[in-house]
Amino acid sequence: MIEISNLTKSYDGQIVIKNCNAKIHDGSINGLVGENGAGKSTLLRLIAGVLKADSGSIRLDGEEIFESPNAKAKIFFLADEPYYGKNAHIKDLTTLYTCFFDRFTPEEFKKNLVRYQVDIDKPLNSFSKGMRRKAYLAAALASHADIILIDEAFDGLDPYSRNEFKKDLIELIAKNPKTTVVIASHSLRELGDICDSYSLVDNGQISDEFVQAKNLHKVHLAFGDSVPSDLHELQPIAVKRDGHFLVVVTDATEVKIRAFFAPYNPLMLDIVPLTVEEAFIYNKEREML
């Protein structure tokens, strides 16, 4: 388990992570979301031991990660723009990871690369961004590390590759139930497919409140006659009208929603859970109201 306690990190006096506390449990895929510059990458770098925290601690199974080769040996970190060497080949990556990760399997790495259609004989700099990404993701899967941290996991990947990677990740967790994956990404739909839990990095704080979107509800309605025009009572965050159809996002309670629409005799009233992406967007919109 990764325990983050009172973590603070700043760059040139500007605080990026502020007195943060969080726990990441074993055997889960965690999504780390947040706006640009929220501190997601910084948090991952701190967990990976690349950066030193100003104060606080990050422990893996009780052991401080920073400056601990033992703890770091359990963590595979894939940065948003990983760079080993412009003219480096796949074999250079294999050498690097074989040296440092005892459970890294070159054969599996190669197998993954072939499956991802990455040319193993070409230097990394001849690859496209997505192709390079796939090469590093293949390494992450072959690392068999206890903790896999991936920044912008789906960046540059085509839809097919995204799907393949998601399947591989789920398979990895199925095979190794203790493996923990933390993915920072703006592709919330992709995260929604694979993540067990989510954390929002916002204003230097980590929270999981956005997942419940602070009790936001998305209501799908269909009306035979008149569609209600005044929804003020529900304090809607988003309203979408399409003829006799109405979609409302509100933080009103389910009872209140049903009571409000009952006089209009809706033909359909479905209260559906928000997707991760919707929760993130609507939560932000509500903040801005």
């Binding site: 400056e67 033992n70 760079y83 412009k86 050498t95 690097l96 990760f101």
Partner: protein
């Protein structure tokens, strides 16, 4: 004990070293040697000598310009720190890893330069073995190596204050070409008076420097005018060098104080990394080669000396144009006050050191073979 990074170090070292040893072996030993053998056989060595010098010189110039760029692309990036520092090792070990990368390449380059030296020795010595040549220079060699190390370190600093590899190269061009110019135009202006020079100058200069050395040992009583100039020039250069190093140490102290933990990864390649050391090694090699050619040909082929002078002037001109372009034409380039100070110290130090190094070399042993040792 963290054995992982030792494993990595060894593999990295070996892979880099093999590539560059092969490169140098092929381009700077085998090919020139074959050329030379043919030349010697066909032209009894007369033309072989010139061909050799031209081929090896051209190769060195070419590689000195090309390799830094190649290595820059291969190894330099601040993003590299994300990977290196996330590996299971401490930051100190990560630092050593990156340093070894640099050393691996430097070693390969030095081996290459050594090979060039061997080739030149063989040819210039008309078949005299390298050992035989060195056998006559017991006094000079330690001093030469010391001078080489110091020059190397100063060049490192000169490059490390640069913000990009291009600036670094220009810095080195400045640092390494200016001493040549100063040496040619101020210290030894006679060397470049084409008509006045003759092959007998070699012997007369040797004699003068032998006197200078003797005067150094015997508190000097029989100094000729020329030797006084050389002797005091060397001493002055040494003094300035000491001052320079004092300043440099202070400056380095302040530089290191600036380092923050999160910058360690980026600082490694920027300040101690491969590109810097490689660039300076190449340029140093080139500069020394230039000096070698200069001093060699002063005695035998004056037109070579002029050619080298033109080279140095051209490089200097390129440097000036670069600076004018960067800071006058492209006014966006911002320079802080301490940047100018650092550049001034680096350039000034380079000039002073260049004078000192070659002053020492001349004062001790002026034979061309000693310049080879510097390589």
């Amino acid at each position: 004990m963290n054995s992982r990074y030792f494993r990595y170090l060894m593999k990295s070292f070996w892979s880099i070293a093999t590539v560059y040893i092969t490169l140098f072996a092929v381009f700077l030993i085998i090919i020139p040697f074959v050329i030379d053998v043919f030349c010697v056989l066909l032209f009894r060595g007369t033309i072989g000598y010139s061909a050799y010098v031209v081929v090896v010189g051209a190769m060195c110039i070419f590689l000195s310009g090309l390799l830094p760029l190649i290595m820059h692309n291969r190894y330099y990036s601040k993003n590299r720190s994300d990977i290196i520092l996330s590996m299971p090792m401490t930051r100190g070990q990560a630092f050593i890893t990156e340093l070894v990368f640099g050393l691996a390449i430097i070693t390969a380059l030095l081996v290459g330069c050594y090979c060039v030296g061997c080739c030149l020795c063989l040819i210039l010595g008309n078949g005299t073995s390298l050992l035989g040549t060195y056998g006559t220079s017991m006094l000079g060699l330690p001093l030469l190596y010391l001078a080489c190390v110091i020059t190397f370190l100063v060049s490192t600093f000169a490059v490390s204050v640069s913000n990009s590899v291009f600036q670094a190269i220009v810095m080195l061009l400045l640092v390494n070409s200016l001493p040549s110019l100063v040496n040619a135009l101020i210290l030894n202006p006679d060397s470049y008076s084409w008509i006045a020079q003759s092959s007998t100058n070699w012997f007369s200069q040797t004699e003068v420097f032998e006197h200078a050395l003797a005067s150094l040992i015997n508190s000097g009583s029989e100094l000729s005018t020329n030797s006084i100039n050389t002797f005091w020039g060397s001493m002055l250069a040494l003094l300035l060098q000491l001052l320079f190093w004092g300043g440099l140490t202070v400056l380095a102290f302040f530089e290191f104080r600036k380092l923050k933990s999160e910058h360690l990864g980026t600082v490694i390649p920027q300040r101690f990394g491969v590109v810097n050391t490689l660039t300076l090694t190449c340029m140093l090699g080139f500069a020394l080669l230039t000096e070698f050619f200069t001093d060699l040909v002063i005695m035998e082929h004056n037109w070579y000396a002029w050619m080298i002078l033109i080279f140095a002037l051209a490089y200097f001109l390129i440097s000036v144009i670069y600076f004018v372009f960067m800071f006058v034409v492209r006014k966006k380039a911002k320079f802080r006050k301490d940047d100018w100070i650092r550049y001034a110290i680096a350039i000034g130090g380079g000039i002073i050191l260049g004078m000192a190094v070659f002053g020492i070399v001349r004062a001790v042993r002026p034979e061309p073979m000693y310049y080879l040792a510097l390589l």
